[in-house]
């Protein structure tokens, strides 16, 4: 009897410990009429420091609002965000990517910011509307980018190849230059990175042929034949050794800036976003040159370049304090204080006045980017529709299809048909 009691007691103690631990928990809501907002972003340590300073600046102006920053790396960020949204526990302010914005907005997870005081008057017209679709404003652009080619002048020089005039160069020029670079460079150096797995490159490639990656009403904007032609061109470039082998391409997929072929001096030309010039140059230990995409005709306008939102500020549709969220996003977008801190870490300032106001504070490299973006304005093609619901993230596995073509597992046309089938399936 006594023994049994002892046993029971022991179990009770074990459970008690668990319950006591549980008792320590509970929410930590801020007290006293203060509004607390959760704000989440992805990035590395440098961004965290800057963003925290912006939060401090906002809190100093708005003592009744407290902003709690939450941050993490890219992959984990989306796993966490989708889990939190599913559990109705999403942060109030969310750093968004163009890949996912319609995914979330289209399913009612994002707040229509048009109803709150977020002023977009000073923004570049061609990019202000990037967060506007399906009858609402679901994200405020926080940086402007353009898809670019980054050239390594040192490798050009070593190979004795001249840098092209990027306003007039054509795809034929590109092929010739890349092939020549590989031939005249040391072993292991390639004329160009492959653009075969890069949706932005495919997009420009299609736009130059009168198509686009997506249509405004959220469908695919190209045919299987057009995609097959794209695969064929990648294959030809590979066969000409203008771009690396399929194995090397695969190895470089998903590499961070530091690991990339551009940064490690293996690719004389690489495909990037304009704001990455600074990071690539820093990682490579030398200054790279920004080039526009080649065109079919050699006319600047026919390159069909476009401004791309590097990121958005979005908000949860379920936030309890939409007014305060609006105030904070407006601060991020329009306040001089925020701009002086954020500078161009997330991409070139979309607000033209602030772009000028911060210009002198930028590093020389960032000033180059700034100028490049401004110079591009007269030659831009039409704005491009956002990624449809279902195709964000893993919904459009271009790299996988290109791999199947390059490894000879599928013909270009079969791979194109398969990818289109899969994409259409994912959009349902």
């Amino acid at each position: 009897m006594g023994r049994r009691l002892a046993g029971t007691r022991w179990l009770a103690a074990a459970l008690g410990a668990a319950l006591v631990l549980a008792g320590c928990g509970g929410g930590d809501e801020a007290a006293g009429g203060k509004v607390t907002l959760r704000f989440t972003w992805w990035g590395s340590d440098g961004r965290h420091t800057i963003t925290q300073k912006v939060i401090d600046a906002f809190e100093a102006e708005h003592p009744n609002i407290e902003i709690k920053g939450e941050y993490g790396d890219w992959t984990g960020y989306w796993d966490k965000l989708s889990t939190q949204v599913a559990a109705n526990d999403a942060p109030d302010i969310i750093q968004m990517d163009e890949q996912y914005i319609r995914e979330y907005a289209g399913r009612g997870a994002l707040l229509d910011l048009a109803k709150y005081d977020v002023n977009l008057d000073g923004f570049d017209a061609s990019v202000a509307k990037a967060g506007e679709f399906d009858g609402g404003l679901y994200g405020v652009v926080n940086g402007v980018n353009a898809p670019v080619v980054l050239a390594n002048p040192q490798l050009f020089q070593k190979a004795g190849v001249k840098l092209p005039d990027d306003k007039t160069w054509t795809w034929d020029d590109y092929t010739r230059i890349a092939t020549e670079l590989t031939a005249k460079s040391a072993k292991g150096v390639w004329g160009s990175q492959s653009f075969g797995s890069d949706p932005a490159a495919l997009k420009i490639w299609l736009r130059q042929r009168g198509a686009d990656l997506y249509t405004a009403d959220g469908k695919l904007g190209f045919s299987a034949e057009q995609l097959a032609e794209f695969f064929d061109q990648v294959k030809q470039l590979r066969d000409a050794k203008a771009i690396p082998t399929a194995e090397l391409i695969e190895e470089n997929a998903g590499a961070t800036v530091n690991q990339s072929g551009s940064a490690t001096g293996k690719y004389a030309m690489g495909f990037w976003n304009s704001n990455q010039l600074a990071q690539v140059s820093e990682a490579a230990g030398q200054e790279f040159k920004l080039l526009r995409f080649p065109s079919l005709t050699g006319k600047p306008k026919d390159a069909q370049e476009y401004y791309k939102a590097s990121q958005f500020w979005s908000a949860s549709a379920r936030t309890k304090h939409p007014e305060e969220v609006g105030q904070f996003i407006d601060f991020l977008a329009n306040s001089d204080k925020a701009a002086q801190l954020l500078l161009s870490e997330r991409g070139t300032q979309p607000n033209k006045k602030l772009r000028e106001a911060t210009a002198s504070k930028l590093s020389p490299t960032d000033q180059v980017i700034n100028r490049f973006i401004s110079d591009l304005a007269p030659d831009l093609g039409a704005p491009t529709p956002p990624v449809p619901v279902g195709l964000g993230g893993a919904g459009f596995p271009l790299g996988e299809s290109t791999g199947e073509v390059l490894f000879g597992r599928l013909s270009s046309l079969d791979a194109a048909r398969k990818l289109i089938d899969e994409a259409n399936n994912n959009m349902e």
């Binding site: 022991w10 631990l21 990035g43 340590d45 993490g72 796993d79 530091n258 990455q276 990071q279 490579a284």
Partner: protein
């Protein structure tokens, strides 16, 4: 005999080198400036870039020691929880007779079989309803409720390997289950308990996903979550700091293992049982 021993050691040392290579590479990388990590080949270091350690320690919103401490708290809770709850359950499964035991055992195994990605969301909803998100509770409390079926099963197998005569002799002496469990079986299970403790330590210390999902405030981040904050897939990454802090966070695990493995040696042989 002598040459045989030398051969054996040579082979072992060769294997050891293969096993060690990654660690050496990490140490070397942690002492290189960011822009050289992926460009400089091999293990040769020209000079020591110690700044990765000081920079990395202070790069995030809290000094890195804070994340080490957070991880330590979670690990300690998890170890205690697993040792207590899993050994109790294992004794029940391995030695006691009652209705439903086989079914429960089957269910326990089944809980191991469902890929965790699909229970993440429902589990998150559960802990969120309890108001436990952004605390360590979702990472610790389940361990007190023997949800790590791996260890329950491990201990069941160990207890089954222990001679039944031990219990029967104790029953003859009038011992109850608490005494049989606590005074006879537990001491014999030290290797299994040590295994549980070591594995719990390492797996919890390295666990990224649960910590990522449940801890939102950076002040509560555990080591693996904090480490990821050094890299950005699209932007600039502090690889040097990442490797430096990886080495720092490896130290406690390695020490724990060095210390804990001594208990793996304590079997029947050393407890004097004949």
């Amino acid at each position: 005999m002598r040459t045989k021993a030398i051969l054996k050691h040579t082979a072992l040392i060769l294997v050891a080198l293969v096993m060690l290579y990654p660690l050496l590479w990490m140490i070397v990388s942690s002492l290189r400036p960011d822009d050289l990590i992926f460009r400089a080949p091999g293990l040769w270091l020209r000079d020591l870039h110690v700044a990765n350690y000081t920079d990395g320690w202070n790069a995030l919103s809290q000094p890195f020691g804070r994340y080490l401490l957070n991880s330590a708290v979670v690990v300690l809770g998890a170890i205690i929880g697993n040792l207590v709850s899993c050994s109790l359950a294992a004794y029940s499964f391995a030695r006691l007779e009652y209705r439903g035991r086989r079914i429960f055992f089957g269910i326990m195994l089944a809980t191991l079989m469902l890929p965790f990605h699909v229970v993440v969301v429902p589990q998150y909803v559960l802990f969120s309803e309890l108001g436990w998100t952004n605390t360590f509770l979702p990472l610790i409390v389940p361990k007190f409720l023997a949800t790590d079926a791996f260890f329950v099963f491990l201990m069941v197998q160990f207890i089954r390997g222990l001679p039944r005569e031990l219990d029967e002799a104790a029953v003859m002496d009038g011992a109850g289950h608490v005494r049989i469990f606590g005074q006879i079986l537990l001491p014999l299970m030290v290797p299994a308990l040590a295994t549980t403790a070591i594995f719990t330590f390492i797996w919890t210390w390295n666990d990224f996903f649960s910590a990522l999902i449940y801890l939102t405030s950076p002040d509560l981040y555990t080591v693996p979550v904090a480490l990821r904050a050094f890299i950005d897939a699209q932007g600039s990454s502090s690889w040097g700091s990442l490797f430096a802090m990886s080495i720092v966070s490896l130290l406690p695990v390695f020490v724990a293992f060095l210390f804990g493995q001594r208990y793996l040696l304590r079997g029947i042989a050393t407890t004097g049982l004949k």
